[in-house]
Symmetry: C2
Protein backbone atom coordinates (compact mmCIF):
# COMPACT_ATOMS: atom_id res chain seq x y z
CA UNK A 1 0.00 0.00 0.00
CA UNK A 2 1.27 3.42 -0.88
CA UNK A 3 1.30 5.99 1.89
CA UNK A 4 -0.68 9.15 1.12
CA UNK A 5 1.74 11.93 0.26
CA UNK A 6 1.59 15.55 1.32
CA UNK A 7 -0.25 16.70 -1.79
CA UNK A 8 -3.04 14.14 -1.52
CA UNK A 9 -3.46 14.77 2.22
CA UNK A 10 -3.56 18.53 1.64
CA UNK A 11 -6.15 18.05 -1.14
CA UNK A 12 -8.23 15.96 1.29
CA UNK A 13 -8.08 18.70 3.95
CA UNK A 14 -9.05 21.45 1.53
CA UNK A 15 -11.86 19.42 -0.02
CA UNK A 16 -13.43 17.89 3.07
CA UNK A 17 -12.57 19.89 6.18
CA UNK A 18 -14.29 23.25 5.75
CA UNK A 19 -12.63 25.10 8.66
CA UNK A 20 -9.15 23.98 7.48
CA UNK A 21 -9.89 25.78 4.22
CA UNK A 22 -11.43 28.84 5.91
CA UNK A 23 -8.55 29.26 8.35
CA UNK A 24 -5.88 28.65 5.68
CA UNK A 25 -4.46 25.59 7.48
CA UNK A 26 -1.87 24.00 5.23
CA UNK A 27 -0.01 20.74 5.58
CA UNK A 28 3.62 21.67 4.95
CA UNK A 29 5.36 18.55 6.24
CA UNK A 30 4.44 14.96 7.01
CA UNK A 31 7.41 13.68 9.05
CA UNK A 32 6.60 15.03 11.53
CA UNK A 33 3.18 16.32 10.50
CA UNK A 34 3.39 20.11 10.36
CA UNK A 35 0.45 22.43 9.79
CA UNK A 36 1.18 26.04 8.86
CA UNK A 37 -1.34 28.87 9.21
CA UNK A 38 -1.28 32.51 8.17
CA UNK A 39 -2.20 35.17 10.73
CA UNK A 40 -4.81 36.96 8.55
CA UNK A 41 -7.75 34.54 8.70
CA UNK A 42 -6.92 33.69 12.32
CA UNK A 43 -6.41 37.12 13.80
CA UNK A 44 -8.38 38.36 16.80
CA UNK A 45 -9.15 41.82 18.10
CA UNK A 46 -5.68 42.06 19.70
CA UNK A 47 -3.87 41.48 16.41
CA UNK A 48 -2.76 38.01 17.55
CA UNK A 49 -3.92 34.51 16.64
CA UNK A 50 -7.25 33.46 18.13
CA UNK A 51 -6.89 30.62 20.67
CA UNK A 52 -9.44 28.55 18.74
CA UNK A 53 -7.28 28.78 15.62
CA UNK A 54 -4.15 27.64 17.46
CA UNK A 55 -6.19 24.74 18.82
CA UNK A 56 -7.57 23.92 15.35
CA UNK A 57 -4.10 23.72 13.81
CA UNK A 58 -2.88 21.53 16.67
CA UNK A 59 -5.89 19.18 16.64
CA UNK A 60 -5.53 18.74 12.88
CA UNK A 61 -1.79 18.02 13.12
CA UNK A 62 -2.37 15.30 15.74
CA UNK A 63 -5.15 13.77 13.69
CA UNK A 64 -3.02 13.67 10.54
CA UNK A 65 -0.09 12.17 12.44
CA UNK A 66 -2.32 9.25 13.50
CA UNK A 67 -3.89 9.04 10.04
CA UNK A 68 -0.37 8.54 8.68
CA UNK A 69 0.43 5.94 11.33
CA UNK A 70 -2.70 3.94 10.47
CA UNK A 71 -2.00 4.20 6.72
CA UNK A 72 1.53 2.89 7.23
CA UNK A 73 0.00 -0.21 8.88
CA UNK A 74 -2.72 -0.55 6.21
CA UNK A 75 -5.32 0.03 8.95
CA UNK A 76 -8.54 1.65 7.82
CA UNK A 77 -9.69 3.48 10.90
CA UNK A 78 -11.71 6.39 12.16
CA UNK A 79 -9.72 8.73 14.38
CA UNK A 80 -11.47 11.23 16.63
CA UNK A 81 -10.22 13.65 19.24
CA UNK A 82 -11.54 12.65 22.64
CA UNK A 83 -9.75 14.84 25.13
CA UNK A 84 -7.32 17.73 24.89
CA UNK A 85 -5.47 19.84 27.41
CA UNK A 86 -4.22 23.08 25.92
CA UNK A 87 -1.80 25.55 27.43
CA UNK A 88 -1.51 28.96 25.81
CA UNK A 89 1.98 30.20 26.59
CA UNK A 90 2.49 33.36 24.52
CA UNK A 91 0.68 35.40 21.89
CA UNK A 92 1.25 34.60 18.20
CA UNK A 93 1.67 37.84 16.24
CA UNK A 94 2.67 36.24 12.92
CA UNK A 95 2.04 33.03 10.94
CA UNK A 96 2.30 29.97 13.15
CA UNK A 97 2.80 26.24 12.78
CA UNK A 98 1.71 23.15 14.67
CA UNK A 99 4.06 20.18 14.84
CA UNK A 100 2.78 16.80 16.04
CA UNK A 101 5.15 14.80 18.22
CA UNK A 102 5.04 11.07 17.61
CA UNK A 103 3.66 9.06 20.53
CA UNK A 104 6.17 6.87 22.38
CA UNK A 105 6.97 3.46 20.87
CA UNK A 106 5.29 1.92 23.92
CA UNK A 107 2.07 3.92 23.36
CA UNK A 108 2.01 2.94 19.69
CA UNK A 109 2.63 -0.72 20.48
CA UNK A 110 -0.18 -0.65 23.05
CA UNK A 111 -2.57 0.85 20.49
CA UNK A 112 -1.57 -1.75 17.86
CA UNK A 113 -2.37 -4.55 20.33
CA UNK A 114 -5.73 -3.00 21.29
CA UNK A 115 -6.71 -2.55 17.63
CA UNK A 116 -5.79 -6.16 16.84
CA UNK A 117 -7.73 -7.49 19.84
CA UNK A 118 -10.77 -5.22 20.04
CA UNK A 119 -10.76 -3.10 16.92
CA UNK A 120 -10.49 0.07 18.99
CA UNK A 121 -8.14 1.87 21.32
CA UNK A 122 -6.88 5.26 22.48
CA UNK A 123 -3.55 6.99 22.15
CA UNK A 124 -2.00 10.13 23.64
CA UNK A 125 -0.11 12.56 21.46
CA UNK A 126 1.55 15.92 22.02
CA UNK A 127 1.45 18.85 19.60
CA UNK A 128 3.44 22.06 19.84
CA UNK A 129 2.47 25.31 18.15
CA UNK A 130 5.19 27.86 17.50
CA UNK A 131 5.30 31.36 16.09
CA UNK A 132 8.66 32.45 14.79
CA UNK A 133 11.02 31.09 17.48
CA UNK A 134 8.46 31.09 20.31
CA UNK A 135 6.44 28.17 21.62
CA UNK A 136 2.93 29.65 21.87
CA UNK A 137 0.80 26.62 22.69
CA UNK A 138 1.19 23.06 23.91
CA UNK A 139 -1.54 20.48 23.38
CA UNK A 140 -1.77 17.11 25.14
CA UNK A 141 -4.39 15.20 23.18
CA UNK A 142 -6.02 11.79 23.40
CA UNK A 143 -7.49 10.36 20.21
CA UNK A 144 -9.83 7.39 19.93
CA UNK A 145 -9.02 5.07 17.03
CA UNK A 146 -11.63 2.62 15.74
CA UNK A 147 -11.07 0.19 12.88
CA UNK A 148 -13.64 0.68 10.14
CA UNK A 149 -14.64 -2.97 10.52
CA UNK A 150 -15.48 -2.29 14.20
CA UNK A 151 -17.64 0.76 13.49
CA UNK A 152 -21.35 0.39 14.05
CA UNK A 153 -23.73 2.41 11.86
CA UNK A 154 -24.21 5.89 13.25
CA UNK A 155 -21.10 5.86 15.41
CA UNK A 156 -19.08 8.26 13.23
CA UNK A 157 -17.37 10.80 15.43
CA UNK A 158 -15.57 14.06 14.92
Amino acid sequence: MQLPDRDSLQAHLSAHIAPARALGLELVGIDPVTIAAPLGPNVNDKGTAFAGSLFSAAALAGWLQLTQWCAARTLEAQIVLQKADAQFLAPARAPFRAIARESSAQERERLAVLLARRGRGRIALAVEVSCEATLVMRLAAVYAVTLSTALTPGSAGR
Copy 2:
Protein backbone atom coordinates in the same frame (compact mmCIF):
# COMPACT_ATOMS: atom_id res chain seq x y z
CA MET B 1 -21.76 52.97 32.07
CA GLN B 2 -23.94 51.17 29.62
CA LEU B 3 -23.31 47.47 29.17
CA PRO B 4 -22.56 46.45 25.59
CA ASP B 5 -25.65 44.81 24.12
CA ARG B 6 -25.83 41.73 21.93
CA ASP B 7 -25.79 43.68 18.67
CA SER B 8 -22.71 45.71 19.48
CA LEU B 9 -20.84 42.66 20.78
CA GLN B 10 -21.79 40.71 17.64
CA ALA B 11 -20.61 43.58 15.45
CA HIS B 12 -17.30 43.59 17.34
CA LEU B 13 -16.86 39.83 16.75
CA SER B 14 -17.62 40.06 13.05
CA ALA B 15 -15.42 43.09 12.54
CA HIS B 16 -12.39 42.14 14.60
CA ILE B 17 -12.21 38.37 15.09
CA ALA B 18 -11.58 36.91 11.63
CA PRO B 19 -12.18 33.23 12.50
CA ALA B 20 -15.50 34.06 14.20
CA ARG B 21 -16.63 35.47 10.88
CA ALA B 22 -15.19 32.59 8.81
CA LEU B 23 -16.77 29.92 11.03
CA GLY B 24 -20.12 31.72 11.24
CA LEU B 25 -19.95 32.05 15.04
CA GLU B 26 -22.85 34.17 16.17
CA LEU B 27 -23.66 35.62 19.57
CA VAL B 28 -27.30 34.72 20.14
CA GLY B 29 -27.62 35.40 23.86
CA ILE B 30 -25.72 37.31 26.51
CA ASP B 31 -27.19 36.03 29.77
CA PRO B 32 -25.69 33.48 29.74
CA VAL B 33 -23.41 34.13 26.78
CA THR B 34 -24.45 31.77 23.98
CA ILE B 35 -22.59 31.34 20.69
CA ALA B 36 -24.40 29.55 17.86
CA ALA B 37 -22.65 28.01 14.86
CA PRO B 38 -23.91 26.44 11.65
CA LEU B 39 -22.55 23.04 10.61
CA GLY B 40 -21.57 24.04 7.03
CA PRO B 41 -18.42 26.13 7.63
CA ASN B 42 -17.42 23.83 10.49
CA VAL B 43 -17.94 20.41 8.94
CA ASN B 44 -15.18 17.83 8.72
CA ASP B 45 -14.66 14.80 6.49
CA LYS B 46 -17.06 12.73 8.63
CA GLY B 47 -19.95 15.15 8.15
CA THR B 48 -19.71 16.30 11.78
CA ALA B 49 -18.35 19.47 13.40
CA PHE B 50 -14.56 19.74 13.52
CA ALA B 51 -13.18 19.59 17.08
CA GLY B 52 -11.34 22.87 16.52
CA SER B 53 -14.63 24.59 15.67
CA LEU B 54 -16.35 23.31 18.82
CA PHE B 55 -13.36 24.59 20.78
CA SER B 56 -13.46 27.96 19.00
CA ALA B 57 -17.14 28.49 19.85
CA ALA B 58 -16.51 27.52 23.48
CA ALA B 59 -13.39 29.68 23.90
CA LEU B 60 -15.24 32.66 22.45
CA ALA B 61 -18.26 32.15 24.71
CA GLY B 62 -16.06 32.08 27.82
CA TRP B 63 -14.16 35.16 26.69
CA LEU B 64 -17.38 37.09 26.07
CA GLN B 65 -18.81 36.04 29.44
CA LEU B 66 -15.78 37.59 31.16
CA THR B 67 -15.86 40.62 28.86
CA GLN B 68 -19.43 41.21 30.05
CA TRP B 69 -18.44 40.73 33.68
CA CYS B 70 -15.65 43.31 33.36
CA ALA B 71 -17.93 45.76 31.54
CA ALA B 72 -20.53 45.48 34.30
CA ARG B 73 -17.82 46.56 36.78
CA THR B 74 -16.50 49.30 34.46
CA LEU B 75 -13.18 47.49 34.32
CA GLU B 76 -11.18 47.94 31.14
CA ALA B 77 -9.24 44.75 30.88
CA GLN B 78 -7.53 42.39 28.52
CA ILE B 79 -8.80 38.84 28.80
CA VAL B 80 -6.82 35.94 27.35
CA LEU B 81 -7.30 32.21 27.45
CA GLN B 82 -4.46 30.62 29.36
CA LYS B 83 -5.43 26.98 29.81
CA ALA B 84 -8.27 24.80 28.61
CA ASP B 85 -9.23 21.20 29.14
CA ALA B 86 -11.66 19.96 26.52
CA GLN B 87 -13.65 16.76 26.52
CA PHE B 88 -15.33 15.74 23.30
CA LEU B 89 -18.31 13.63 24.28
CA ALA B 90 -20.31 13.03 21.11
CA PRO B 91 -20.28 14.05 17.45
CA ALA B 92 -22.23 17.17 16.38
CA ARG B 93 -24.12 16.46 13.16
CA ALA B 94 -26.10 19.71 13.07
CA PRO B 95 -25.73 23.36 14.14
CA PHE B 96 -24.34 23.62 17.66
CA ARG B 97 -24.17 26.19 20.45
CA ALA B 98 -21.73 27.00 23.22
CA ILE B 99 -23.10 28.27 26.53
CA ALA B 100 -20.76 29.81 29.11
CA ARG B 101 -21.45 28.98 32.74
CA GLU B 102 -20.84 31.83 35.13
CA SER B 103 -17.93 31.24 37.52
CA SER B 104 -18.86 30.74 41.16
CA ALA B 105 -19.50 33.86 43.26
CA GLN B 106 -16.40 32.95 45.26
CA GLU B 107 -14.24 32.78 42.10
CA ARG B 108 -15.58 36.12 40.90
CA GLU B 109 -14.99 37.74 44.28
CA ARG B 110 -11.45 36.39 44.33
CA LEU B 111 -10.77 37.84 40.87
CA ALA B 112 -12.23 41.23 41.86
CA VAL B 113 -9.87 41.37 44.86
CA LEU B 114 -6.85 40.38 42.74
CA LEU B 115 -7.67 43.00 40.12
CA ALA B 116 -8.06 45.69 42.78
CA ARG B 117 -4.78 44.72 44.44
CA ARG B 118 -2.50 43.79 41.57
CA GLY B 119 -4.31 44.74 38.39
CA ARG B 120 -4.32 41.13 37.24
CA GLY B 121 -5.75 37.74 38.11
CA ARG B 122 -7.07 34.46 36.78
CA ILE B 123 -10.49 32.89 36.75
CA ALA B 124 -11.87 29.47 35.88
CA LEU B 125 -14.98 29.13 33.77
CA ALA B 126 -16.89 26.20 32.28
CA VAL B 127 -18.47 26.15 28.85
CA GLU B 128 -20.78 23.51 27.44
CA VAL B 129 -21.36 22.88 23.75
CA SER B 130 -24.56 21.16 22.72
CA CYS B 131 -25.99 19.94 19.44
CA GLU B 132 -29.74 19.48 19.43
CA ALA B 133 -30.34 17.88 22.84
CA THR B 134 -26.89 16.31 23.19
CA LEU B 135 -23.93 17.65 25.15
CA VAL B 136 -21.07 17.26 22.66
CA MET B 137 -18.21 19.04 24.41
CA ARG B 138 -17.29 20.32 27.83
CA LEU B 139 -14.58 22.95 28.30
CA ALA B 140 -12.89 23.84 31.59
CA ALA B 141 -11.03 27.06 30.86
CA VAL B 142 -8.81 29.43 32.78
CA TYR B 143 -8.59 33.03 31.58
CA ALA B 144 -6.02 35.61 32.60
CA VAL B 145 -7.50 39.06 33.17
CA THR B 146 -5.26 42.13 33.18
CA LEU B 147 -6.47 45.67 33.74
CA SER B 148 -5.50 47.93 30.86
CA THR B 149 -3.71 50.21 33.32
CA ALA B 150 -1.53 47.24 34.36
CA LEU B 151 -0.58 46.26 30.80
CA THR B 152 3.00 46.89 29.79
CA PRO B 153 3.72 47.70 26.13
CA GLY B 154 4.06 44.54 24.06
CA SER B 155 2.26 42.32 26.56
CA ALA B 156 -0.94 41.97 24.52
CA GLY B 157 -2.02 38.34 24.49
CA ARG B 158 -4.46 36.24 22.59
